[in-house]
Symmetry: D3
Subunit: 254 residues, 6 copies
């Protein structure tokens, strides 16, 4: 059992004695094409956190399931119904509040594991503000913040994309996410609905008010065709392993 919401407070206190790594998965409620569920980012961040925590005797907090506003060039943008996004300050406040409470409990090692590209800087600000606050009480907490996909080894990308990885920018509801979902929650993937669109082409800049220009009608930014559970397993196994190694190197005493 690694999820804190499934522990009693007495069990949690016992586990804190081991100074565990605590994981905060962060996702979004965002369109992911006609074939993936809107909770995809939250599901993948949660699964990834559970896999890593399970190996490192860590704990996983309830996932932040709503994220920052989707942008056209990375997630298709705010013009899709179904996408439910927070103001930046709200996500920042969520992060700061949770860290403050964990510090009160005595948690000393937190991994904020993000699965939604647009969240990054508002999570960063929440952590910065929390650290400023912890400083006033002399409390120390090591906090790591990362997107899980940054750990996927190059050789895996080479294999999965036959050497033609187009970059993460357009990997929204595309080959990687679809494969990972097929590996972990295939019942939530509608294989028949995978669109035949090609890769999206965008201007170099962002434009507001968001008007969906350049975004395929499906909401999928790069081909998801060729996704498979096997590729999903290859990606997740290697990414989990790389995260574990990075965290072990950072917190070498474990």
């Amino acid at each position: 059992m690694v999820r804190t919401d499934q522990l009693t407070w007495t069990e949690y206190v016992e586990k804190l004695e081991g100074d565990p790594l605590v994981f905060l998965p962060v996702g979004a409620h965002e369109q992911h094409g006609p074939h993936l569920p809107m909770g995809t980012d939250a599901i993948l961040a949660t699964r990834m956190a559970e896999a890593v925590a399970g190996r490192l005797h860590g704990l996983v907090l309830p996932t932040l399931t709503y994220g920052y506003k989707s942008q056209a060039r990375s997630g298709g943008g705010q013009t899709f119904p179904g996408t439910i996004s927070l103001d930046g300050q709200t996500l920042t406040a969520m992060t700061q509040d949770i860290i403050r409470e964990l510090a009160r409990h005595g948690v000393r090692r937190l991994i904020v594991l993000d699965g939604h590209y647009e969240n990054q800087w508002f999570l960063t600000e929440g952590i910065e503000l929390a650290q400023r606050e912890l400083l006033t009480s002399g409390t120390q907490m090591d906090i790591v913040r990362t997107e899980y996909w940054d750990f996927c080894p190059q050789h895996v990308l080479d294999t999965v994309f036959d050497g033609n990885f187009p970059g993460y920018d357009l990997e929204h509801a595309a080959l990687i996410e679809t494969s990972m979902m097929l590996h972990w929650q295939p019942e939530l993937v509608r294989l028949d609905a995978i669109p035949q669109d090609d890769q999206a082409h965008f201007e170099i800049f962002d434009y507001y008010p968001q008007d969906g220009a350049g975004v395929p009608a499906s909401g999928v930014l790069a081909p998801a065709r060729g996704a498979s559970a096997a590729k999903g397993q290859l990606i997740t196994d290697n990414t989990v392993e790389a995260i574990i190694q990075a965290l072990q190197a950072k917190f070498c005493d474990r």
Copy 2:
């Protein structure tokens, strides 16, 4: 399938055509004694929303799993490790942001279903601020806000408590919640850890800084002994039915 995070955006759009009731369950991450998991309020609000939504062709949003600060006299208070609480403004902002987005989608009927007593007024403020904002664009959304336990019929309480229901104030991690968890997620209940404490006795007032005075060491405010899955089923079945009737009466066309 009633959970929006498990729908694709295209499925969601289809379902919105039926003008469904949309449910936002709200819980907490809060100590619930040595026998119930810290996610109890979130779990029960979610299950209740799913049960009602399932009957009414409604949709259920991802649960707000973190809530407002626990208070001694209703939840044991903030002195327990494991309780992770938000500032009031954060919970209010979460609520307002989500409603703003739902309005953009065309959702017209929202039920905010709360399972954590302390959340009530910050949810209310989030709804009030959202309605003020919707007014500027002439958007209309019917929003119902409620705690699920208010619908439990008196005859059920009489049966469950043998006519001695002490009031909801102290029903924290006690007979009702324990029974409901035994009904819905018995694998998360540690029957052997149910404390033998009697009912808590508090001053009439709130005191700050919170010092846990009057709170039993277990965090349980009234006896949980005698809880059973059967009682849980009795409570939930009747409460679900009462909520359905109230919503049908309010939104009579369904």
Copy 3:
């Protein structure tokens, strides 16, 4: 003289040497039917604070005369002209600011005495945030927060209501408040205008945008008929006495 705004700062400094209880009364500017003034909640909270402070050598701060948004089921709601309500965050900030300043003066015992039901949680949050701030400077202040009516003894309610007390929920501009106003400020009560309405009947849930459904046109939620100055005196005398005893028990050294 117990009101701080009527003291010079030099007199205040002298009084602080005795480590007095300091009272912050909180009310509202809210419709109270056609027979009670809109300042009723503020007037009653102030009078109650003055009565208690007078007996305990305490001090009374200027009353917060504007409160949180009226709700249909407890105060008739925001649809009435005349009701002037604050956003939750504003009331919270007022509370936090005042506590910060009192701490600078060396006040160590504060009683936040509320006379408007809807204020409760935003006062609580103001106190919680102030205590968090005081913690960074190692300042200790004992803060009690309460609604005055919680101290009214049951036997008084039995007498006043002939054993049929319907609960505080609907006691808005009704028998208790009208009697108290007749006792303390009869010149502000329009006896001839007391409505003949019966008790209001509400849905179990809150609904937004507020539409006044279920609220009698008068704004009075339960019968005020039968109110009298004698009942008012009975209520206030006993409630004042109960508050004094509770505070003496808490701060036993006085």
Copy 4:
């Protein structure tokens, strides 16, 4: 009766039909030397508003009795115990919230009458933000904002100061305020405690953190000696008259 908190909501509605001027007095809780009460600014603003409203069939709202932070050169500063000051944003929010509600009632003419120099800009911002908000709903409200002393005629100052008026900057707890209090609430003035200090001398700049440099120990910035009820009446009568004329000229139809 001109105070809205002493009106029933039904009486208030009737009075609104005449499109009255509504007054919001704003003061402070601030040291005013060893001879004047800390509520002086609030008391004087309130009295002035009541006098003007009484003549113009206007209404007076409950006074904002807490103001912005006292500054050394205008009020003696924040180093005195007893002074209770708000953050600027809190005062701004109070102002904005109240205007929003008045607009809902149909109030169309508001006079924000300030008696505490330091409040000015945070009131201004509250009004600006409220007007921005009203604009989104097409609501029009005429709002006048002023300090009452700006209306005191020069010939009155010449008389009262024998031609040696030193300017308002240092008129804190000095001749004008003491005389006005002697006129309106002599029972709150401790004539025997008027200090013999001369006028304060300050640097040209403000310095932070506030350290009280240049501020007389009494907190009085200019001589209060020679204050009298007669001078107070002369000041108030003429100032009230001047405000009335200015408002009549502005809102000429009344």
Copy 5:
């Protein structure tokens, strides 16, 4: 070189060893009539800071070039296109953030030099909030806040205005500012466009929503005719000297 943005961080660190006065000039982007550029307040505050800092081995931070909302009676108001104003809270936050960072560097003496009348109180609040924050870490920073014109000697005003100085209130885009710009940046002054308007006449009070009543169409509040570079030099030389003397007296060890 006194501008920090033109120093490398290594040079800055060296200079900090001398415990220099650090200057934060604050201006506005505001209409200044048909003859002065909209950056006038920012330009003058910057030049003044550079002149003083140059003499005192001080450092000058990048100027805050956007200020608080222009008011009719002091700057012509918000009805002019071209005026770009911040909300009060934004200016306050800018100030607080910058001070927090300077404190981290070890800066111990800051002069906030304002050239836009309307900025004053939001700068004050930013400084007050920053000092509150510094207090939690025991950090001491001496902060002086001032408008530069307060240091202009009376004899200079007598000379420049031939003994008829009308007060600073209406000195917007008028004789003083025009002369100073002619002295420092004559290429930005359109002498041919100086309006022939006389002095503006205003009501005693502020009115909202701002409607430009009383403001000359040019935006100039008092005659700028007669402005000259020579007068500008006289003003600036004497004002710079007076500021230097005041700062030397305050920080006597330099």
Copy 6:
């Protein structure tokens, strides 16, 4: 003349008739190694905006010279003295306030041109919030947001880096920025102080509290050796040209 702060308001109004592109450059006050000034990001964004605006008959607003918190992996981080960073919300509010005012003037085309990587998302949020606000008044403004370096053509990078461009991540105070500064403001570059460090190596994740791990002592993240004014000209000329083409394509009527 393309800088709005150097225009009179009357000139500005005339220019607005041509519906010009208006540019808001955004930079930072951040360490840029021992050889570049701390204003580098602000200087480069300003110069770039001026160059583009000069060609397109556009206008340039005063630069936002303070930016969001420096991060170790992109700017060396917050551990350096001299870096002065804003909270995210402050930068967001600055952006929103400026857009609100431009909309009032009738500006319809805004380019937010960023020169500091860490600013991106807080600018985005400011724009999103401003657009939400403009929507309530039915105002339309086209807003483009971009980092200038995204327009540097690949062939230029190939030439400048001899085909070994390491990516923008580490291009902080390195070859590109140093060359651009040598081209535009060589007097601010200390060629003799260019460090001999190699490229920085970082963990894959961000770590907080920032501790400078992996950041070279100089603050330079990749070699600046080989920088030259000629390379700077090549980069800037081509980048300016690419931005012009993109803007012309977007706003094709000019």
